[in-house]
Amino acid sequence: MTMAATLPVTAPVVTARKGGPLRAVSSFLYRRSTLYLLLLLTPPLLWFGVVYLGSLLALLSQSFYTFDDFTMGVTPDFTLANYKALFTDAANYDIVLRTLGMAACVSIASAILAFPIAYYMARYATGWRKGFFYVAVMLPMWASYIVKVYSWTVILAKGGIVYWMIGKLGLTHALEAVLALPVVGGNSLSTSNLGRFLVFTYIWLPFMILPIQASIERIPANLLQASADLGARPQQTFRTVILPLAIPGVVAGSIFTFSLTLGDFIIPQLVGPSGLFIGTMVYTMQGSIGNIPMAAAFTVVPVVIIGVYLAIAKRLGAFDAL
């Protein structure tokens, strides 16, 4: 007995469905694909243009406003005085250099620390190990930033765990010698530039690991095989294939570590010696003094620095592999 004979005879399964108003709209949009795209993109583009970039431009324009020292009021009169002060006032100049130096050191140290971890995650870790490393890298990011920085002040303080461990290892003299160095050192680890550097590097490390990991993971395995096949020893393959192809990830990561350090105003207040950073300067100008134009002028500095940095990186071919 065939199947057809057992099936009851019914109406055809496929019928023309009734066209409701929604269906008419979707058919109309399907035919007018440009209009469809426009409708979908307008809200996010408005947000991006007005809220995201617009607010930045508004900030930029405020850096040309005039601040009256006497009345402590801001008037929208065009002036270059803020920028003039930024570059001619030796104290401001110091702030920019101090912040820039720290950002550079933190970025370099993060890259050196992050690369082997990222390399392991991308090329060797599989299964639960990969999951473990992802969580381990991001776990500190889930904890409160303020809590982490405050804990570091305790960790690095005299009588803290770091001092205790160094003492147990019999290296107290070495630490004191390091802290006696001019720029790096200070009274204790928690009030030295070294301590501030450690905390910055700790806080921003995940922002370096993840982009490098992504860039290494994107390198096809057969490129490494081809390199070995052509006679390259592992370290030659690393230098000539892996490193150049991972550089875009390092640059992306360093943009994070660089700009986050340039803009941070909490760590410089809590860890390390006195002396303002760009972030603390903006905070003071805007919060305590109310000199928003000067704060805005200071905010422009990181934007310009990152722009210059990207231009140099592009010139050196960092993005050629993208």
């Binding site: 096809p220 057969n222 490129l223 095989q225 081809a226 390199s227 070995a228 096949d229 052509l230 006679g231 390259a232 020893r233 030659q236 000539t240 294939v241 150049p244 192809l245 050629d320 592999a321």
Partner: protein, 341 residues
């Protein structure tokens, strides 16, 4: 005297319980164009990777020019590979890609660029050195990959389905070029492919792989005319593999044999030198130069007959539904052993 380029002795490569390569022994002569042919997952690519050094054998010995290679990393082997998807370095221009092997061996810039230019000239890409891989077509990238391997003057060149991604016309052109190049350079080519036409047209000898084992190693002509096993008969070209009940009916013995579709005619067996059977024509497929007739024998087995289309307008040819008589010469039959079905 011919020397041996590559010798496998009882080589196996197992992944857990999967036997990718299972007790394979082959000897490839110096200067030979040797193909490894088989369906995907048959172990041919794993064999190539064992020679290149990307894989290490679970057991057995691999000699490359008399030197034990098992345990040696790829960068200590005198072989080079042309990869299936070319594996060109995206961050280097074409000239640097080709000069790479010389660069890592410490050859000076001037010298290695000269060699690389020459190698690019050999594959007719002399003016393309300044481009990047992204600016090249698939066929051009394929040639660059070839030049990049050949510039190192390897004694053995491994090619892993190098023409797989190219369209038919380009593939045929590259087949001719590869064959010419191999004759000119005189180096051993070991060529992995799943395309039997490619293997037959280029190779001196072909090894047919099936399920990690070698079914037959022979010249292309012998593979086609004297397939040793049902698998080879079926995989190399198309064949009517006749076994069991139908073989019993036709020959009086259960011994399996194969007959090529082009050797069967629509006729009663004319003499004692001819054998045949009857069936019903089911369908006719038009293939341009030939037509393929599908016949169902009395036992239910499907048989194929290929007729050149010069004769296809012949009104005496059967139509679907007709009862037909099939005949073939006794010498067209090839007895088959069991093989690894």
């Amino acid at each position: 005297m011919t020397t041996t380029a590559v010798q496998f002795t009882n080589v196996s490569r197992h992944y857990g319980t999967v036997k990718a390569v299972d007790d394979v022994s082959i000897t490839i002569a110096d200067g030979e164009f040797f193909s490894m042919l088989g369906p995907s997952g048959s172990g041919k690519t794993t064999c190539l990777r064992l020679i290149a050094g990307f894989e290490q054998p679970t057991s057995g010995s691999i000699l490359i020019h008399g030197k034990e290679a098992a345990g040696l990393p790829p960068y200590e082997r005198d072989v080079n590979t042309v990869f299936q998807d070319y594996a060109l370095f995206p961050h280097m221009n074409i000239l640097d890609n080709v000069a790479y092997g010389l660069m890592v061996k410490g050859v000076g810039k001037k010298e290695r660029y000269k060699e690389a230019e020459a190698a690019l000239g050999m594959v007719a890409l002399g003016d393309f050195g300044g481009r990047t891989p992204g600016q090249m077509s698939g066929g051009q990238r394929q040639r660059v990959a070839l030049a990049r391997a050949l510039v190192n003057r390897p004694r053995v060149l491994l090619l892993d389905e190098p023409l797989g991604a190219l369209d038919l016309k380009l593939r045929e052109q590259m087949q001719t070029e590869l064959k010419t190049l191999q004759r000119k350079l005189g180096i051993t080519f070991i060529y992995v492919t799943h395309d039997q036409g490619e293997a037959l047209s280029m190779s001196d000898r072909v090894a047919v792989f099936n399920k990690g084992k070698i079914e037959q190693v022979d010249s292309p002509r012998n593979l086609y005319t004297k397939p040793a096993t049902p698998f080879v008969a079926d995989f190399v070209g198309t064949s009517n593999v006749i076994e069991g009940e139908l073989a019993q009916v036709i020959t009086g013995a259960a011994q399996a044999f194969s007959v090529r579709p082009e050797h069967i005619h629509f006729a009663q067996p004319a003499s004692a030198d001819h054998l045949g059977t009857q069936g019903t024509l089911i369908d006719v497929h038009y293939h341009g130069a030939t037509s393929r007739f599908e016949i169902k024998a009395a036992t239910g087995q499907l048989l194929a007959v290929t007729i050149s289309n010069r004769d296809a307008e012949d009104p005496t040819l059967p139509r679907p539904g007709d009862a037909v008589a099939l005949s073939w010469a006794r010498q067209a039959m090839v007895p088959l052993s069991a093989g690894t079905r």
